[in-house]
């Protein structure tokens, strides 16, 4: 703040520099300038993120028929979603199963991306010594992130399909007689595609945390007689924790809400939380879609709150 005051005051202090522009700048208070600078972005988030979220919550309590939204309070969006759930107890109803399946996919993808992401980041941060190589190799990992997800998804089809490379390769080597069917349009292909798409979100934050670790700490651990594993568990992992948590939040929230990858790679057969919303939307049942969105949001929020207990995200940026 004092810096800003100084900035505003300086033109007046220097004789002869009191131009019209400087005089005008002096009149603008620092907080007004801040508002002017940050305001436009705030407005965008207000108009296209915060207000829409409020609408999602409001509309989730509206009524609907086959043709339109009826702006009257109703819990139908929610009751339709949980239809038959209580009667079916102790068996899980469709929505329960769907969320369980989503959590399972989410957990698998999280565990695999964390494993790959950790070691890729570790390699880049600790084993690649030259800055140029470090830049080059991280760029190599980043570039696929900048191209269309759908393309990266459909890229698996010629590999995993019934007559794909993997199947024909396995048949040629004599390992199997008939093409393996579960490679494509299955949970396997969904997890594979999600890992392929989103490991990047794990690598970058973990790499960022690791690169900031003081190398002398690791040397000190070695000098004190720690083994490689002990150094990893007691020094590197705790210090890389913020990156691990941030990466995990990214991957988990993306997978929880995903409906495109699961749709394409699951052959439109696998139900997941995001997919329910899409199905409801295609049927123009907006309140039901909104109700599912609220439920999904609540679960996502719960997971993030739990994870941000571990680390203060704000401090790490």
């Amino acid at each position: 703040m004092s810096e800003e005051v100084l900035q505003q005051a300086t033109p007046g202090l220097i004789p002869g520099s009191g131009t019209a522009r400087a005089a005008k700048a002096t009149r603008l208070s620092p907080s007004f300038i801040s508002w002017l600078q940050a305001g436009p972005m705030m407005l965008v988030f207000l108009a296209f993120f915060l207000i829409p979220l409020v609408f999602v919550v409001i509309v989730s309590f509206w009524d609907y028929n086959e043709y339109q939204l009826l702006p009257a309070f109703s819990g139908r969006g929610y009751t339709d979603t949980f239809e038959g759930c209580i009667a079916q107890l102790p068996d899980l109803c469709t929505i329960g199963k769907t969320y369980l399946k989503t959590l399972k996919l989410c957990f698998l993808v999280w565990a695999i991306t964390l494993f790959i992401g950790f070691w890729v980041a570790y390699f880049l941060a600790f084993h690649v010594k030259s800055k140029t190589w470090q830049m080059g190799l991280s760029l190599l990992c980043t570039i696929p992130f900048w191209t269309s997800n759908v393309i990266r998804m459909i890229a698996w089809i010629p590999l995993l399909g019934r007559n794909g490379l993997v199947n024909s390769g396995l048949i040629k080597t004599g390992l199997i007689n008939h093409p393996v069917e579960w490679l494509l349009f299955s949970e396997f292909s969904v997890v594979l595609a999600l890992v392929h798409l989103f490991t990047f979100f794990m690598v970058v934050p973990i790499f960022n945390s690791m690169i900031r670790i003081d190398k002398s700490l690791i040397e000190a651990a070695y000098d004190a007689g720690a083994t490689g594993l002990q150094t990893l568990v007691n020094v590197i992992i705790p210090l890389a924790k913020p990156g691990i948590v941030i990466g995990s939040i990214f991957v988990i929230t993306i997978v929880m809400g995903d409906f495109i990858t699961i749709g394409v790679m699951g052959g439109q057969q696998i139900a997941a939380a995001g997919k329910i919303i899409e199905t409801r939307l295609n049927a123009l049942q907006f309140p039901a879609a909104a109700a599912n969105a609220v439920i999904l949001l609540a679960i996502t929020f719960l997971i993030i709150t739990m994870m941000s207990r571990i680390v203060d995200i704000r401090k790490e940026l």
Partner: protein, 292 residues
């Protein structure tokens, strides 16, 4: 640490190489497959080599009106890029001093990044539906929709690109030396002059990076567009529509074209960044130019 490379280096190097192969292998497969001969199918082996499927895309006789979708996506990407750069730099400047709404803006950006895209998309679509209803009820009964590429679509894309822009600005200003600005002020520069002639040239390479993020994130964006784009489609939406119906290599050809644009933009941006960095290194220091 130690002299020579430890065994773990080689293990991890192989792991890293396998990861890169995993990243690029499938993508390269479809780039190759889009050059199938006219009789070619969706899988290997290649049935002849030709540019038949690429040509077919540009004839416009294919399954989508590629030209129109291409222009729409390009226009949207460029607008998103420009808006993202301007708003991110401005907000990044604001964050260098404390102001009251700071944490609200910060948490909005983070939330926008991690709230599942389908929810943001659904919210924007509901918001515009309600706006449409209001316009129909009060002003014009024949009004169609206010949703579109540069209204709801632009907004949806910005909720995805702006958080990245803001985070990159944080990274920039974490490394920025404020003494340079103090020096400029001491020499009598106005705040605007300080920004224009001191701050901007220094941060320019990273600002181009923000532009690169803005354009490519928008160019490839799908989940947020899905409900919020209005009556028209962007290229990725068309591509997604094709995944369930198409059995010919058209789809790979389309994928190759979209990727080619992404790669061209990345290369252009990185080239510019590299050039600016070199220029900065050459002109930013007066070492060895006399006066002691």
């Amino acid at each position: 640490m130690k002299e020579g490379r430890p065994r773990s280096f080689y293990v991890l190097a192989i792991f890293f190489a396998a990861y890169v192969l995993f990243l690029y292998g499938p993508m390269i497969a479809i780039y190759v497959l889009s050059f199938q001969g006219p009789q070619g199918g969706l899988t290997f082996p290649m049935n002849g080599v030709s540019t038949f499927w690429l040509a077919k895309l540009f004839e416009g006789t294919g399954i989508v009106d590629l030209g129109a979708a291409f222009r729409r996506s390009l226009l949207l990407g460029l607008v998103v890029m420009a808006v993202t750069v301007v708003l991110s730099v401005a907000a990044g400047m604001a964050f260098r001093r404390k102001f009251r709404a700071q944490s609200i803006l910060f948490y909005s950006a983070i939330a926008s990044l991690i709230v599942p895209s389908i929810i943001t998309s659904l919210g924007i679509s509901l918001e515009f539906r309600i706006i449409d209803d209001l316009i129909k009820a009060h002003w014009n009964e024949n009004f169609e929709t206010s949703m579109g590429l540069l209204t709801s679509g632009l907004g949806a894309h910005l909720t995805w690109t702006l958080p990245f822009g803001l985070l990159i600005m944080f990274a920039i200003f974490n490394r920025f030396d404020p003494r340079l600005e103090e020096a400029a002020r001491d020499l009598g520069a106005t705040p605007w002059q300080t920004f224009r002639y001191v701050v901007l040239p220094i941060i320019l390479p990273s600002v181009i990076g923000i532009g690169l993020f803005g354009f490519t994130l928008s160019w490839d964006e799908l989940a947020r567009s899905s409900q919020a784009i209005g009556p028209v489609n962007t290229l990725p939406l068309d591509l997604q529509g094709l995944t369930t119906t198409v059995t010919k290599p058209d789809i790979y050809a389309l994928g190759t074209v979209i990727s080619a644009v992404s790669f061209a933009v990345i290369a252009l941006a990185l080239g510019t960044i590299h050039m600016l960095n070199k220029r900065q290194a050459a002109m930013g220091s007066d070492a060895g130019k006399g006066l002691v």
